[in-house]
């Protein structure tokens, strides 16, 4: 007889999650005085024909008596129970069903949840606040006081029939209203083109067609702004932004570029027949509403991008932008999550995916600014490698359309259009269906199936934004395909045809397979336990046909789908930044300023985050994000090298939105420089560097915002030319704005993330920033000028009325980087650090912290103390060398070199005419130990 059962499992020792809840509550100002005020238990729900003995077998499996106790009775205490909303993937439930079947038990349904119990000091209203704010997320979960009944079988009532949407004869206003109602995020001109197209066909579109066009033509997928025709306010008509970047890469003509701006990721080859694929993506909007799931699937998505260009993923990067951690709760707008909640969720999400899929999460950055409070930015990158790679040139007519990996559900519907709209207070509620939950284990198995099977398919792409509509739609370009939605494996019944076609359910790849290799792919899938479905074929007629139960629900030429979109015409007002009038700064207490900079969240140690990421797996991490005597000093770039190879790659990141607020063009140039100087500092060859661009901007339909974007692309191209470092891939995320319930729009600051990947010719000769040996001398390479606009000095002390200029490009930088690289290869450079946020003083302090050594600075690079210590002038490195090598080094590095002073063993950092600072005081400021 089928009945329902529930098992409550509690930890014997204090459950660490309770302390986590108490800490999170206190951080948000919700006082929970005693951790014992919170109790937590895991819930297992089962449905099946289970007798006493079966239940005993199950609890024997599920409860480890050394760790836990379990009970099949309903708890009598007061508590709140949380479980997933119907339709949200419950990964543990699938494992429960597998366990039951392995044990030979008849379980027909399974679900999991958790139970939170609060002590007497917490009343019902407060308990509900804690659950809503900290324990559960209403976007994916529901809860109830007392016991909860789980949903074992999510189902709906799908008609299987596409709805016809009449658009002929509708006025533009009516079309726009229809677009709003269906959240199509299409421009009025685009709606008109669609109307005309269907008028020509003599029929009305189906919902499947309209949704497909909306996804394919979305900002997220089509990059309308980067492809737009832009007229600037000086009357000049410009090449589109994407053309500018591509032209720049073409002009550089670097021999190591194998593929740029084509397909899912850029590809370079520095050494032998090994190629490196690189890609970075944003997952901003999903992370704003469901931080864990958003960041989690952001990582999963970018890994599939690399897999989708037939490279084996080897590392993950992440750059995160949040609102200030100390934002008062009442300053967080309605409908938005507190920055701390977002940060915790995002970091957990990145860690969960990277750790479980088994890739080292290495390079990254975390920055804080009030501009990110309601619109956090989550950049996730992936690096892959391959041997003897060639581009797949299919699909060919007759190839099968093969869908691999996870099943399709109602998750992630309309994600691409959701990302292309600005957010408001209701976004969290309406976006529920946009949230995806990742399953890294399924993606790990996909990697296992596909890496090494490159000869068995003719084309490959991942299912990302837009789901099958964009994956199959892109592959079918110029070829055509005919697919049957009934053949797509579903998580549960009841999906409408458009939902199957558009779902962004995670961990799916589409490959084109010739009929004679189908069996071999099936055998690999069977071996690894990956589901494979043959959903149709590529035809050769140039028409994309999608069927439901045999009846066409979509019939579009791939030409209209991909090229039918009218080029967007946009106009931009270019900014006019101050580049001539530099201003200085007055220092009251330079030592105190240095300590405040070191403890500023942008500069302070990120160790607590780094340790949550597995950065050791594969044994390839040679230079880690944390280095030095106590492995707590910051690194510049990271270096990865296969344990059995001598060569490696270095990864560096550049980001500086504060410079961007004053001068987006100079910012772009200097973040390219920052990314490159980071990897040069660890031992990369400055002549073998490739770049990725990721723009996160506000609404580009505002002319000034677009103007900042245009000049930022100018800055990127100018820097790329100057360094001979081509862009090979990029991604833009626009409309990063939030309309508060006050009606005001909050945009993120102009945020450009540059990722630089460089060739490391000798992984045994890498250099880190921590000071190595007392008695060595310290040199500053590069020039120091009063460039304070957007500086961290201004962030901690407040900016004066006349901010002056941001750091200007240094045209001599590349020549200096080349000489530095030769010095590193020769082995004379014992430590090297780039100078960035906080200027020279912060960089020197970080070297002391890393090495637990002191430094006596005798000479400063400027007579003005503020400039010498805190200006953020670009293109500078600090190097430590033995005194014996000094004359040789100076002979090879004439020009902008300042001999600063000497490394000492007294654990004191001293500057001329300032109170010496104990290195331990620097350590405490940097690591957040209260003074």
């Amino acid at each position: 007889m089928v009945s329902r059962h529930r098992l409550t499992i509690r930890s014997n020792d204090p459950d660490p999650r309770t302390a986590g809840i108490a800490a999170a509550a206190n951080q948000l100002g919700l006082r929970l005085d005693r951790p014992s005020d919170v109790g937590i238990a895991d819930l297992i729900f089962l449905e099946g024909d289970l007798d006493e003995r079966s239940l005993c077998t199950l609890s024997g499996f599920l409860v480890d008596p050394l760790l836990q106790c379990g009970s099949w009775d309903v708890p009598s205490s007061v508590g709140t129970e949380v479980t997933f909303l119907p339709g949200v993937t419950d990964g543990a439930a699938a494992t429960l069903l597998h366990a039951a079947s392995t044990l030979g038990l008849n379980v027909t349904g399974a679900a999991t949840g958790r139970r939170v119990e609060f002590g007497e000091s917490v009343d019902a209203v407060f308990a509900n606040t804690l659950v809503r704010r900290i324990v559960a997320n209403p976007v994916i979960e529901r809860w109830s006081v007392g016991t909860i009944e789980p949903t074992f079988h999510a189902d709906g009532s799908g008609s299987g029939i596409a709805e016809v949407i009449p658009i002929s004869g509708r006025s533009l206003d009516e079309l726009v209203a229809l677009g709003h109602a269906r959240k199509l995020a299409l421009d009025p001109e685009e709606l008109l083109v669609i109307q005309t197209h269907y008028a020509g066909l003599g029929r009305e579109p189906t919902d499947v067609e309209l949704e497909t066009l909306a996804q394919t033509w979305s900002e997220h997928c089509a990059h309308k702004t980067f492809r737009a025709h832009i007229t600037t306010d000086d009357g000049i008509e410009r090449a589109s932004l994407i053309e500018m970047l591509r032209n720049c890469t073409d002009a550089i003509a670097a021999p190591f570029v194998k593929s740029a701006f084509v397909g899912n990721a850029g590809i370079v080859g520095f050494h032998g027949d090994v190629t490196i694929a690189l890609k970075a993506e944003t997952h901003n909007h999903p992370s704003a509403v469901e931080p864990f799931g958003g960041a989690n699937t952001g990582v999963g998505g970018v890994i599939r991008d690399v897999l989708g260009i037939a490279h084996k993923p080897i590392a993950v990067t992440n750059i995160l932008c949040f609102g200030p951690p100390d934002t008062p709760l009442d300053r967080v707008p309605d409908g938005a999550l507190h920055p701390l909640r977002i940060r915790e969720g995002v970091i957990d999400g990145v860690a969960d995916y990277g750790n479980k899929i088994g890739l080292p999460t290495v390079a990254g950055a975390i920055v804080y600014d009030p501009g990110y409070t309601t619109n956090p930015l989550v950049f996730a990158g992936c690096v892959g490698s391959a041997k003897g790679w060639t581009l797949h040139d299919g699909p060919f007519p007759g190839d099968r359309v093969i869908l691999l990996g996870g099943r399709t559900g109602r998750d992630g519907i309309r994600g691409a259009t959701f990302s292309s709209l600005t957010m408001d207070a209701t976004t969290g509620e309406v976006a529920g269906a946009s949230v995806q939950i990742g399953d890294p284990v399924v993606e790990k198995l996909l990697i296992d199936v596909l890496v090494g099977a490159e000869d068995l398919f003719t084309a490959i792409t991942d299912c990302g934004a837009g789901g099958l509509s964009s994956a199959v739609g892109e592959m079918a370009e110029n070829v055509g395909a005919d697919v049957e939605l009934d053949l797509v494996p579903l998580k549960y019944a009841g999906l409408e045809p458009w939902e199957v076609w558009l779902s962004e359910a995670q961990e799916r790849m589409v490959i084109a397979v010739a009929p004679n290799t189908l069996e071999a792919i099936q055998a690999r899938c069977d071996y690894y336990g990956v589901e494979m479905a043959d959903i149709g074929c590529f035809t050769g007629d140039g028409i994309l046909t999608v069927r439901s139960g045999g009846t066409p629900v979509l019939e579009l030429t791939t030409e209209f789908l991909h090229d039918g979109r009218p080029q967007r015409r946009m106009s931009a007002i270019l900014p006019s930044p101050n580049r001539t009038t530099a201003t200085g700064r007055t220092l009251v207490d330079p030592v105190d300023t240095l300590l405040r900079l070191l403890s500023h969240p942008n500069i302070a140690s990120k160790a607590s985050t780094i340790h949550r990421y597995d950065h050791e797996i594969m044994g390839s991490t040679v230079v880690r994000p944390l280095v030095g005597q106590m492995v707590d000093g910051p690194a510049d770039g990271v270096v990865l090298a296969n344990p059995i190879e001598t060569v490696g790659i270095a990864i560096g990141i550049g980001i500086n939105p504060w410079h961007g607020l004053h001068d987006a063009e100079a910012m772009a140039y200097s973040v390219v420089d920052e990314a490159i100087r980071n990897i040069v500092a660890v031992g990369a060859d400055p002549d073998q560097v490739a770049l990725l661009d990721n723009f996160s901007w506000g609404d580009p339909r505002r002319q000034s915002t677009l103007g900042e974007l245009v000049v930022a692309v100018d800055g990127c191209c100018a820097a790329a030319y100057a360094y001979g470092a081509p862009f090979v891939s990029g991604k833009d995320s626009l409309n990063n704005e939030y309309t508060g319930s006050d009606g005001k729009r909050h945009s993120v600051p102009p945020t450009l993330v540059i990722t630089a990947i460089g060739h490391v010719p000798d992984a045994d000769r890498c250099v880190t920033p921590d000071l190595k040996t007392a008695g060595n001398v310290l040199l500053l390479l590069g020039s120091t000028k009063p460039e304070f606009a957007g500086s961290h000095l201004d962030l901690v002390h407040g900016a004066p009325e006349r901010v002056g200029v941001v750091p200007a490009p240094d045209p001599t930088a590349l020549a200096r980087y080349r000489r530095l690289h030769l010095a590193i290869l020769s082995g004379v450079v014992q430590s090297c650090h780039d100078v960035s946020e906080g200027g020279l003083a912060v960089a020197l302090a970080e070297m002391c912290i890393g090495g637990r050594l002191g430094m006596k600075v005798d000479t400063l690079p400027s007579d003005d103390l503020a400039t010498a210590l805190f200006s953020e002038s670009a293109s500078r490195h600090l190097v430590e060398i033995a005194p014996d090598h000094l004359s040789m080094f100076l002979a090879d590095n004439s020009g902008e070199v300042t001999l600063l002073g000497t490394v000492t063993d007294d654990m004191v950092l001293s500057f001329p005419a300032l109170t010496p600072i104990d290195v331990q005081v620097l350590v405490d400021a940097f690591t957040g130990v209260p003074a």
Binding site: S11, D13, D15, P16, R17, A19, G20, F61, L62, D64, L66, L67, G91, A92, A94, T95, L96, H98, A99, T102, L103, A351, N355, K356, I357, G358, D439, P440, V441, K444, L445, Y527, Y528, G529, I610, H611, R612, Y613, D614, H615, E616, I617, M618, G619, T621, V622, R624, L626, V627, G628, Q629, V631, A641, P643, I644, A763, D764, D770, K772
Partner: protein, 239 residues
């Protein structure tokens, strides 16, 4: 001498199988990664193997508790084949998730709970092989081993750690900060016969001096995790 056949068992979500295979190769074995399902279908593979590694990772995504589902697969699927392998005295090692699996198969004592600090933690640790241990994998290792941990459920729990040590079953202890709240700083334990070792840290990620995080500040050549695999392979060669 012909390199002994070593199996690296992987389940769905195991992800340090290749790291373990490289360690075995550098230690002189002939490693082969085998999926649990394949091994269950063909338990004869165990008869040919002289050494077995249950590799680290997140089998089944740690759903329902780390290692539990893969342990159930192996216990139900392999029946006595794994215990037979062990009773022949052949060396078996469970690393991280593999340790979690082996405690659930009852080949090793104790259990592994969530880290005391409640979080996944990745950092380098210092391990000390216990000279009084009967473990064949750590025998004769008199210099500390440096290697990373990377786990969320590594808090070793045992009702009587003193008796366990007295019985020679505590093979490794943390000599850096105890990273997860393990009882008596225990990082690795062995069975009574000493041929089965389970440990949370990852010696397979310290095979070369270059992998040490304090390179070039310290050489680390005396602190390689490789020595554990060399010991295992030496025993396998005698089988």
């Amino acid at each position: 001498m012909i390199a002994p056949v070593a199996l690296v068992i992987a389940g769905p979500g195991t992800n340090r199988d290749q790291d373990a295979a490289l360690a075995l190769q550098l230690a002189g074995a002939n490693p082969r990664i085998v999926l649990a399902t394949e091994l269950i279908a063909n338990p004869e593979l165990l008869k040919e193997a002289r050494l077995v590694v249950v590799a680290g990772g997140f089998s089944y995504g740690d759903a329902l508790g780390a290692g539990r589902m893969l342990a159930l697969d192996l216990v139900v699927g392999l029946g006595d084949a794994l215990t037979d392998f062990v009773s022949l005295g052949r060396p078996l090692i469970g690393i991280c998730n593999g340790f979690q699996v082996l405690t659930r198969t009852n080949l090793l004592p104790g259990a592994l709970g969530h880290n005391a600090q409640g979080r996944f933690d990745c950092r380098w640790v210092v391990l000390e092989a216990q000279p009084e241990s009967r473990c064949v994998w750590t025998k004769g290792i008199d210099q500390p081993i440096h290697c990373p941990i990377a786990h969320g459920e590594g808090r070793y729990v045992h009702p009587d750690p003193v008796a366990l040590a007295a019985n020679g079953q505590v093979a490794l202890r943390y000599r850096s900060t105890n990273p997860n709240g393990s009882v008596a700083d225990i990082a690795g334990v062995c069975n009574e016969a000493g041929n089965v070792l389970g440990l949370m840290p990852h010696p397979e990620n310290h095979l070369l001096p270059r992998q040490h995080p304090q390179q070039p500040r310290r050489d680390g050549a005396d602190n390689l995790g490789l020595r554990i695999f060399r010991n295992g392979v030496a025993v396998a060669n005698e089988m």
